[in-house]
């Protein structure tokens, strides 16, 4: 699971309001460098939840302070920041561990890099 996916994922079980951001309990992480596409990162900027990103960075022991608390239009001009953002969103992968819902405490396991987001029939609204 990439942090980009973590950034958009939420728990939609019955009775949960936001279900966001999911806390990451990582047992195995892999970091692999890929070539950043800065135009694409700029395009993604307004969609990224920075609170979600900071929470993920904290959970993984990355530098959360490198990311602002919220979106502002000037962010797209800072190339070093865009590169750091690309690295966080695309290069860091959680291979083993779990995602924990901040509201209900429900755990979703991650095995082989694949989060299991399946709900039971009782959890459906």
């Amino acid at each position: 699971m990439r942090l980009l996916s973590h950034n958009v994922l939420r728990n939609t079980a019955k009775g949960v309001v936001d279900g966001y951001p999911l806390k990451i309990e990582a047992a195995e992480i892999d970091v692999r460098d890929t070539e950043p596409d800065l135009t694409f990162i700029r395009h993604l900027l307004p969609t990224i939840s920075f609170s979600g990103l900071r929470s993920a960075a904290e959970d993984l022991g990355l530098d959360a302070a490198a990311f602002p608390a919220s979106y502002s239009t000037t962010l797209g001009e800072d190339e070093a920041f865009l590169r750091a953002l690309h690295k966080a969103l695309f290069d860091v992968r959680v291979l083993e561990g779990s995602l924990v819902c901040p509201e209900s405490g429900r755990r979703f396991s991650i095995r082989g890099g694949i989060p299991d987001m399946m709900l039971t029939d009782e959890e459906l609204s």
Binding site: R2, N7, T34, H43, I114, M117, L124
Partner: protein, 282 residues
């Protein structure tokens, strides 16, 4: 061939063996990437710009490969763990997968994706595999969540294999009930093999579905599938002049070729040699 939807639930049908078989069949790979390319075309994304695409029912990541080839990043979800394991083994540069049953709704924040595609998956929602969940409830939950996770201005192109016209109706009605605009694009409607259904959805009120392929008088959007009237066969009688009409005249050959083109078959171009009589030999 019987439909897999009739045999088992998707998570049981696509087990490890089926997933590897699926992913190594060159015929399936070709068909899947062709459909994905067409679905991306139907999304009408801003040209030259990388987009974040949601792939619903991504399976072993065949569609994901086509999405990447088109230059986009994607996040895929599928109900079958075994299919996803095959997808994850590919270690794609721009894609990521997670396990989720789309009938439970999509587990994403609002307005994240620039577009959504789905290849040969939607029809699974029409089959009730657990007593607790009706097909309608699952379809409604899916479309309602799709409506929220797409960015305003984004579109969805969902290709599926309906078993009958009731399924088409069930799916399109669920989509319109949650507020989507759009309809069906049926490519190559005259061919049983190349015929493909795409449900094209948008937020815009003025949205008109794109033209279908292999259709003569422009793409007419179908919201329900009707039966086309059979053309009456005209008796091949004598013409006024008393001369019998040639059995395989140039017009007949051209008409037949046109029909085959509509079915999406590979047909030679028309030339001056088309239907020309061969020299009489000894």
């Amino acid at each position: 061939m019987s439909r897999p939807e009739r045999q088992n639930t998707p998570q049981n049908y696509y087990d490890d063996k089926e997933a590897r078989k699926y992913n190594s069949s060159s015929r399936i790979i070709d068909i899947q990437s062709e459909i994905t390319e067409r679905a991306l075309e139907l999304l009408a994304l801003e040209p030259g710009r990388r987009a974040l695409i949601l792939d619903i029912g991504c399976g072993s990541g065949l569609s994901g490969e086509a999405i990447e080839e088109a230059g986009h990043a994607w996040i895929g979800c599928d109900i079958s763990k075994d299919m996803l394991v095959v997808a994850a083994e590919k270690e794609s540069e721009g894609g990521d997968v997670l396990q989720r049953d789309m009938g439970q709704g999509l587990p994403f924040r609002a307005a994240c994706f620039d577009g959504a595609v789905s290849i040969s998956a939607l029809q699974w929602l029409c089959y009730e595999d657990s007593k607790a969940q009706s097909a309608t409830a699952r379809l409604m939950r899916f479309f309602a969540s799709l409506y929220t996770v797409l960015r305003r201005g984004a579109r969805a192109a969902l290709q599926f294999y309906p078993e009958n016209s009731e399924q088409v109706l069930l799916i399109t009605q669920a989509a319109t009930r949650v507020g989507f605009q759009g309809g069906l694009v049926v490519d190559y409607p005259n061919s049983s093999k190349a015929k493909k259904y795409y449900l094209c959805l948008s937020f815009e009120h003025s949205y008109r579905v794109p033209q279908a392929l292999g259709r003569e008088e422009g793409g007419r959007a179908l919201t329900s599938v009707g039966v086309t009237e059979r053309e009456r066969v005209k008796p091949r009688g004598r013409k006024k002049g008393g001369k019998r009409e040639q059995v395989k005249s140039r017009e007949w050959v051209l008409a037949k070729k046109e029909k085959q083109r509509q079915k999406g078959l590979n047909v030679r171009e028309d030339s001056k040699y088309t239907a020309r009589k061969r020299k009489d030999r000894l």
